[in-house]
């Protein structure tokens, strides 16, 4: 269908390149080593953000969620900071750190972090007090309660938070790469637009979408489903 449209419509090639041009661009960019390098950069950044989000976000979220009053207090603030995505903070980050890798990483890490914190907090709050009290009457110390009941109970929420955070984060990464320009897929498609290399743009877009689908289908959704199946206490 696409090939037909490209062939039939009286548009210049740079407007709507035929699929063959996109495939050719793919071959060319791989042969020149450009595509693997850019894909690697973007993937590296998003994985760093995922690790950061988990390592930092989960403890903070769990901690904040442990007390009802603390959780209620921080709820609106977390909601606010989650909705102001990392991309909105980019200009301020540019003033602070200039154009470089660090700016991109900060923006993307921020974007992934808040949904994780927020959902970890919600997950902890959704653990029925019955379970916590049961363990307490059995004489368990606070730490054991956390590790045996609270964290497993919050895991489905945390997995959802990670999935959402990375969904936002992947898009924020592409945007940040367009704006800051330190290599990566976002930079690639933005740069290609300057040179009217539309086939490269479409190729980049296809790869961006495909990478997200791969990440989601093979890693994030199974994680979410596994945690729900094993520790899911609350009906979603």
């Amino acid at each position: 269908m696409w090939a037909a449209a490209a062939a039939l419509l009286p548009l210049p090639d740079y407007y709507l390149p035929p699929p063959t041009a996109v495939i050719a661009a793919f071959v060319e960019l791989v042969a020149k080593g450009i595509l693997p390098a850019y894909v690697g950069e973007s993937l590296r950044r998003i994985l760093l953000a995922a690790v950061f989000g988990l390592l930092v976000g989960v403890p903070i979220g769990v901690l904040l969620g442990m007390s009802r009053r603390v959780a209620d207090f921080f709820h609106p603030i977390l909601n606010f900071f989650q909705s102001v995505s990392g991309v909105a903070w980019l200009p301020l980050m540019l003033v602070w750190f200039g154009f470089g890798e660090r700016t991109i990483l900060i923006a993307v890490n921020y974007t992934v972090l808040f949904p994780v914190i927020f959902n970890a907090l919600l997950g902890v709050r959704s653990v029925p007090p019955l379970y916590v009290n049961a363990l307490r009457t059995l004489g368990a110390g606070r730490w054991r309660i956390v590790t045996d009941v609270v964290v497993p109970g919050a895991l489905p929420s945390i997995a959802t938070g990670l999935r959402l955070g990375l969904a936002y984060g992947w898009r924020a990464l592409i945007a940040a790469e367009m704006l800051v320009g330190a290599h990566g897929l976002g930079f690639m498609i933005f740069n290609a637009q300057n040179f009217h290399l539309t086939a490269r743009i479409m190729l980049g877009m296809g790869i961006i979408g495909t990478l997200w689908l791969l990440l989601d289908y093979f890693l994030l959704r199974p994680l979410e489903e596994a945690t729900i199946a094993r520790w899911g206490l609350v009906q979603r």
Partner: protein, 105 residues
């Protein structure tokens, strides 16, 4: 053992295997891309001036990459003139699969 057939595990294993295989290949293929007299020059001096021949005309991406390894003096067709490259960086350059040959200027 059912875990091993889950799509996530298979996916990760495949990715790991591909990555390992690729690393091995590039490491093994690298020395062949260095011109013989290069080894002698590297033994003598800490920094050498090299020509890096590619299979295509270099793009902005490649020039910027090379600037991280030395001083780009010029481009002639598919060859880049790169000055003051350190010994270990020459090895690193040779590991890029899209580099055809590195020789002395």
């Amino acid at each position: 053992m059912r875990l091993l057939r889950h799509r996530t595990v298979v996916f990760l294993l495949v990715v790991a295997a591909l990555a390992a295989g690729w690393e091995t290949y590039t490491t093994l293929a690298a020395p062949r891309r260095l011109a013989p007299e290069l080894a002698a020059a590297l033994a003598r001096e800490p920094r050498v001036n090299v020509t890096v021949r590619l299979g295509f005309a270099p793009e902005e991406f490649h020039i910027r990459l090379f600037q991280g390894y030395g001083v780009v003096r010029g481009v002639q067709g598919t060859t880049v003139l790169l000055d003051r490259v350190r010994a270990e960086d020459v090895g690193r350059l040779a590991r890029y699969y899209w580099v055809r040959m590195i020789a002395l200027q």
